[in-house]
Symmetry: C2
Subunit: 325 residues, 2 copies
Amino acid sequence: MSDLGGEFGLIARHFTRPARGGRVVLGVGDDCALVQPDAGQQLAISSDMLVEGRHFLATVPPERLGHKALAVNLSDLAACGAEPLACTLALALPRIDDEFLAGLAQGLWALADAHGMALVGGDTTAGPLNICITVFGQVPPGQALLRSGARPGDELWVSGTLGDARLALEAFRGRVSVAALGADFDRVRLAMELPQPRVALGLALRGVASSAIDLSDGLAGDLGHVLQRSAVGATVDADALPRSAVLAAQPLAMQLQCLLAGGDDYELLFTAPPGRRDAVLAAARQAGVPVSRCGRIDVAPGLRIEDGHGQPVDGQWRGFDHFSA
Amino acid sequence: MSDLGGEFGLIARHFTRPARGGRVVLGVGDDCALVQPDAGQQLAISSDMLVEGRHFLATVPPERLGHKALAVNLSDLAACGAEPLACTLALALPRIDDEFLAGLAQGLWALADAHGMALVGGDTTAGPLNICITVFGQVPPGQALLRSGARPGDELWVSGTLGDARLALEAFRGRVSVAALGADFDRVRLAMELPQPRVALGLALRGVASSAIDLSDGLAGDLGHVLQRSAVGATVDADALPRSAVLAAQPLAMQLQCLLAGGDDYELLFTAPPGRRDAVLAAARQAGVPVSRCGRIDVAPGLRIEDGHGQPVDGQWRGFDHFSA
């Protein structure tokens, strides 16, 4: 279809491959893609739109951008405990840039392949750079991890480490010295540009976690969603929040900013009854992802942040809001 | 969640309603939506991205924009013979404009309701105006209408009338006089801004049509996709292409431009063996949509456009390409 001009040629060149996996009946190239979920499974669906300057910087290599655009969506499937099936990609591009597209496709395919996921369709148009991916996963009825399941007494857990992505952003913004970070700058930049969605952990936490959410807007804001949907409160032990050695070397105020209102972590925040502590740790081992206990769910509404001695930590920890941050 | 700022408030205010329909297990508000398709059905998926100045003009009322953004996606489900289930909406907005959002939501909900479809999730961010909708439908295995099924000898059919949307665009561009169109301008503008996706016709054509596509980029270009995927050719009778009285009053060259390379028709172009002519007409009656026979599928590759006397119609009828049109 390349005789039909740029739009169709673009899709064909970079984003069409034979559909992989038995569940994809028909991939790119018709009006719709056709996917056959396993019998009786529920479909988990999520959609994220990435805009330059808001969700990524112009400095990001296209491979990493392709990775991240899919990763933030996979992170939503992970938070539901859903098994990835397929995704669609809609792209608005200011111009046809073959090198950019090749890189974008490469990053996206690599992550899709790592999760056995097919790219089944999409759209390409001229316009200010915009990447919109919708993902589809499957989960047995009743087993999805929801934001609404946290109960008083549950323990609060988080995967991986938090705050490095925000630290990298602060370095790009000039609020943290890149020179002072030295070689560590590349490390925190990876956290920002190549987040690893915790799909395996989400699957392993089915039947173990009472609630889950992925951390995209910062712990304080995202935990707020869980508290609101579960009609509970929480106390977070800020000293117990897992952080890299790089972040731990920053002033405490910067650490707290990055840990609590960081954004772009794409780790899982989840709750489980104290009696399931061993099951949580087993799930984490199975998924190969470290997890840390960092607080508890309370009857009293609201979010309290304390240090390791039970003293309140001052500060306003608003969620990372893409309109105001 | 309105205390968390604009982004979350936006979604909640305009785009959250109780999920409708038994197939939606969980709607907006968690990491993923959960949808339960009927047992054994295949999932039909399509995604379209709309950009201002490319797919709609700044003059379009927001209600109509909301309608059209969903309609172009529903049209893809229609072309597959799929039954609409649910959709997601991702929005990039240059600013928070309550009136615009209220209108957009109203137009979108009205069309979604007309098709028993739930809005199950999405995303909102700051950025140049961009509307990305992904739709999910279901279709029994083996019954989807595909582009690849056209066979030599099949007859070519099209629903409704073609070209009015392009005529309206030409009027907006000043190439056709709005004054000369008079009251008819509002009529062709409706075709451009409020296309009616042919979902009922697509469902009725299951087991009748041998192939189908929806006309979004103009008949010549879209038919080209069918020919390519089916490895056949076609002859179109340009005189038989259905057109409104308004378009029929235009000079022939403008008529042909609008009919063959119009874009934005959102009618169905489909093929069926001559022996299924009665079944096609019965499907059209059932769906309440007029259909016209307008050509045939040939063994010889390529697309031939003829007039009613079998004489070739000159011209280059490229598909409407959003990068070059």
